[in-house]
């Protein structure tokens, strides 16, 4: 018997004017899996991730969470569905007027309707988990990039999501700060979090991904295990992209 994927998308399509930036993309993610999206800039990775939780409205495409189709036109269904998907953005998108602590509690209080005290306890726990115990009362402007990204991860995790979507979570970070964020993501994976992540960090992708998805010009051109994609890609485009990235960043 095949297990029901936690998240399944079918035929995702998005056009901006004449330009098709996502064409008929389909994907399914099983419990505890980490899928990594790779591909050139402008290939549609962010668009795909944002279509999954309907931050971008796709022109066509269907989504199922734990076997249940999401009817995005029903506002209540949409808002509840979004709570179940945590999203991490390239440039953190913390709320600038709130401390690290309140960045995490605001969703718990305003969306989940939790009491302030419970929200605080939960937020402190999540911030401790990402190693920010000593920074909870700092404002985003007082945090480093790596710390900001970890706050945003804590903010998403506090909502108890079923799936995490991560859009190039380390691309805006200075090199020395990348590993602190990748370590957090690896821990999530070890704890069984289901994730879809886009990244240019091939070393990381190769080491921890269950499956790699190569996306170019809005097409999913190839899906496979890291070994297959990096060593034995069937598609020329995939091979060309991987060797170019290896050239640029080394094999690390």
């Amino acid at each position: 018997m095949t297990q029901t994927p936690v998240l399944r998308i079918e035929g995702m399509t998005k056009r901006y004017g004449q330009k098709e930036v996502l064409r008929d993309a389909s994907l399914s993610v099983n419990e505890g899996q980490l899928k990594i999206l790779i591909g050139p800039s402008g290939g549609g990775k962010s668009t795909l991730l944002q279509c999954i939780n309907f931050l971008v409205t796709p022109d066509a495409g269907r989504v199922w969470l734990k076997g249940e189709e999401i009817v995005r036109t029903q506002k209540k269904v949409l808002y509840e569905y979004r709570q179940k998907l945590g999203m991490i953005f390239q440039d953190f998108n913390l709320f600038d007027h709130l401390t690290a602590l309140h960045n995490v509690t605001i969703g718990l209080v305003r969306v989940k309707g939790m009491s302030k005290q419970d929200a605080r306890d939960k937020a402190v726990y999540e911030l401790e988990r990402v190693g920010l115990k000593d920074h909870i009362s700092k404002y985003p402007a007082q945090l480093s990039g790596g710390q900001k990204q970890r706050v945003s991860i804590a903010r998403a995790l506090a909502m108890d999501p079923e799936v995490m979507l991560l859009d190039e979570p380390t691309s805006a970070l200075d090199p020395e700060l990348i590993s602190e964020v990748l370590t957090v993501i690896e821990n999530l994976r070890a704890n069984g979090m289901t994730m879809v992540m886009s990244t240019h960090h091939m070393g990381f992708a190769r080491e921890v991904a269950d499956e790699i998805v190569f996306l170019e010009d809005g097409h999913i051109l190839e899906v496979g295990t890291p070994d297959k994609i990096f060593l034995n890609a069937e598609c020329d485009r995939t091979r060309a992209f991987c060797s170019k990235i290896l050239e640029l960043y080394g094999s690390a």
Binding site: N53, Q83, D96, G107, Q142
Partner: protein
């Protein structure tokens, strides 16, 4: 000696009365204007097409019509429709509606300065649009709009002097009456001017206090 007595017995009480009326015009107009500005500003940025058009039209009209004309319409025009407003109410209405239109420009600019990413983040957490505006957008936009809105309030203090045109006798009105009785235009209006200067100074001081109060890391004039 006569001069001193005249100032003590006639000028000061009249101008004091006028100033009280001015303050009574300014404070509610400033608060209502700000509220209108926020509602209109939010509608212009986050409203649906209908709301946007409505709000834009509002701003076009209330910024386009001279304020005196607006006051005349509220005071002399509405009675034709069977609505009679006192000079005071007509003035507060006129000032609030007009300054609301100006405030909405500052609010709109501030709303547009909030990075789109933060809106996406709020939506990804499951915020409804209304909750997102209330808990993420407005607290930040308010801080950014404050200098502009403060400026508009200072301006309001001065254009509140138009109320006497529809017989709401405030500071300028009282000054004009005494001046025309005594022909001491220069002296009287110099004093009137100084009182306005005092009012605007107090208002700037209060606004500054509020700005400092709301100051947060990352919002402190870009670190300057």
């Amino acid at each position: 000696m006569e001069e001193v007595l005249f100032i003590q017995h006639d000028v000061i009480p009249a101008l004091w009365r006028g100033m009280i009326v001015s303050v009574e015009l300014i404070i509610p107009s400033a608060l209502c204007g700000l509220l209108i500005g926020i509602v209109i500003g939010v509608s212009r940025v986050f409203g649906n097409a209908f709301l946007k058009t409505l709000a834009n039209t509002y701003v076009a009209i209330f910024r386009g019509f001279p304020l005196v004309v607006q006051l005349f319409i509220w005071y002399f025009g509405l009675p034709h429709l069977g609505i009679y407003l006192s000079p005071y109410v007509a003035s507060v209405l006129g000032f609030s509606l007009c300054s609301g239109a100006y405030h909405s420009e500052y609010v709109r600019g501030a709303l547009l300065s909030i990075k789109r990413g933060q809106l996406l983040a709020a939506q990804s957490l499951g915020f409804t649009k209304m909750k997102m505006i209330a808990s993420v957008v407005l607290p930040q936009a308010f801080r950014r709009a404050l200098p502009g809105c403060g400026n508009e309030i200072i301006y309001l203090i001065k254009y509140s002097s138009l109320a006497y045109m529809i017989t709401c006798i405030e500071l300028t009105g009282e000054g004009k009456i005494i001046a025309s009785e005594t022909f001491k235009y220069t002296e009287i209006f110099l004093i009137v001017g100084i009182v306005y200067l005092l009012l605007t100074s107090v208002a700037s001081w209060v606004l500054h206090r509020i700005e400092n109060r709301l100051r947060l890391p990352g919002f402190d004039n870009y670190g300057l």
